[in-house]
């Protein structure tokens, strides 16, 4: 009877074994990829020297509905230990803004898209210093003409009131006028502010205001 059942289902057994073999092969490949990605993350963390950073996760409650500001309200306040001045990130090491007002259950976050945002940044490998001016499209200002900046150069925060080397975005446009002594650069980010539902707050941070 047993032999009859094996003979009857032999085709399906072989297909099943093949599928199992393929699945275990894919699983092995995924494990390897995962291991590689973990190593890459660890390397990047080491480079940015932020591995010991503590984060608090908060959800975005509300976004300022007018154009003059791009603040967010998040669902973590003084009861969660949040303090004004703490940096806020979209993902690990991606700067979004900082906490400016704290209530019991909520906090207001000024983002780099707010027109009153100003902070010191460093552009590219050369480490050219500039001033990040917030707005609908954030700009990098006070860059002397002749300074070598390329499209897609990465921009990092070097502001004293924020942790060093937080990634902000990439250079998307360079406006250099021969008559002017300074050039202006536009910045693009990898995310859309409208799509952000959750943020990370760096806790226990004491910057120099």
């Amino acid at each position: 009877m047993g032999l009859f059942l094996i003979w009857f289902y032999r085709g399906k057994i072989f297909i099943g074994l093949d599928n199992f073999k393929n699945l275990s092969q894919s699983l092995g490949e995924l494990r390897l990829e995962n291991q590689g990605l973990r190593l890459e993350i660890a390397e990047l963390k080491n480079k940015l020297n932020l591995q010991s950073q503590l984060y608090l996760t908060a959800r975005v409650y509300s976004r300022y509905p007018f154009n003059d500001n791009q603040s967010l309200i998040i669902d973590a306040g003084s009861q969660a230990g949040v303090q004004a001045g703490w940096p806020v990130l979209t993902a690990e090491n991606y700067l979004l803004g900082k906490v400016i007002k704290v209530k019991a259950d909520t906090s207001e976050v000024r983002t780099i898209f707010s027109s009153d945002w100003r902070s010191a940044v460093r552009i590219g490998q050369a480490g050219i210093e500039a001033l990040l001016a917030g707005g609908r499209q954030p700009k990098l200002e006070l860059i002397p003409v002749g300074t070598r900046i390329n499209l897609d150069d990465e921009v990092f925060s070097v502001s004293p009131d924020l942790p060093m080397n937080l990634f902000i975005g990439k250079v998307s446009e360079i406006n250099s006028q021969p008559a002017a002594s300074l050039q202006e650069v536009k910045l693009k980010t990898d995310y859309d502010l409208n799509q952000i539902r959750q943020v990370l707050i760096i806790t226990d941070y004491e910057g120099f205001d």
Binding site: Y61, S62, R63, Y64, P65, F66, N67, D68, N69, I73, T106, E108, S115, D116, G135, R136, Q137, N194
Partner: protein, 155 residues
């Protein structure tokens, strides 16, 4: 009863407008239209009776504050602008579309002048863009309302 239905219809559309504004569904190139202002000014222009317009403005402000409690200062500013518009309505031309566009122009500029005057220096292009966007939407709103008004009269 008819007034109550009218108020409920108003509140439904105001609620929709607040949701659209806060989620920035109509955002174009980073510029979001001020739909709350549009509805406040529409109440000023569309309602012939002072008392009814006043009630509508208060209801719009109350509803907007409930939905957006964190930005109540800005919403109250819009309410104040609506009240000013209501008081000075008699000095306008009398044409619905023209008056509405004038009020949108003054209201949009007045809003930023009161809440964040520095915005005129930091991003004047955004203010102009929002102004045209608000006026464009306002004109569309009046055209739609007039169309429905004509249809109702014909029926």
């Amino acid at each position: 009863m008819r007034d109550l239905i009218k108020i409920l219809i108003w509140l439904f559309f105001v609620f929709l407008a607040v949701i659209v504004q806060t989620n920035r569904f109509l955002e174009l190139n980073g510029v979001n239209p001020n739909l709350i202002l549009l509805f406040i000014l529409l109440a000023v222009i569309w309602e012939k009776e002072f008392r009814k317009a006043l009630i509508l403005i208060f209801l719009i402000i109350a509803l907007s504050t409930v939905v957006l409690p964190y930005w109540s200062k800005q919403i109250l500013t819009l309410g104040g602008l609506g009240l000013l518009a209501l008081l000075f309505k008699k000095f306008l031309t009398g044409g619905i579309l023209g008056d509405f566009l004038i009020l949108i122009l003054l209201g949009s500029l007045g809003f930023y002048l009161i809440t964040d005057y520095q915005y005129f220096f930091t991003d004047p292009i955004a203010i102009i863009a929002e102004l045209f966007y608000n006026m464009g939407l306002g004109a569309i709103l009046i055209i739609i309302l007039k169309f429905f008004q004509r249809q109702t009269k014909l029926a």
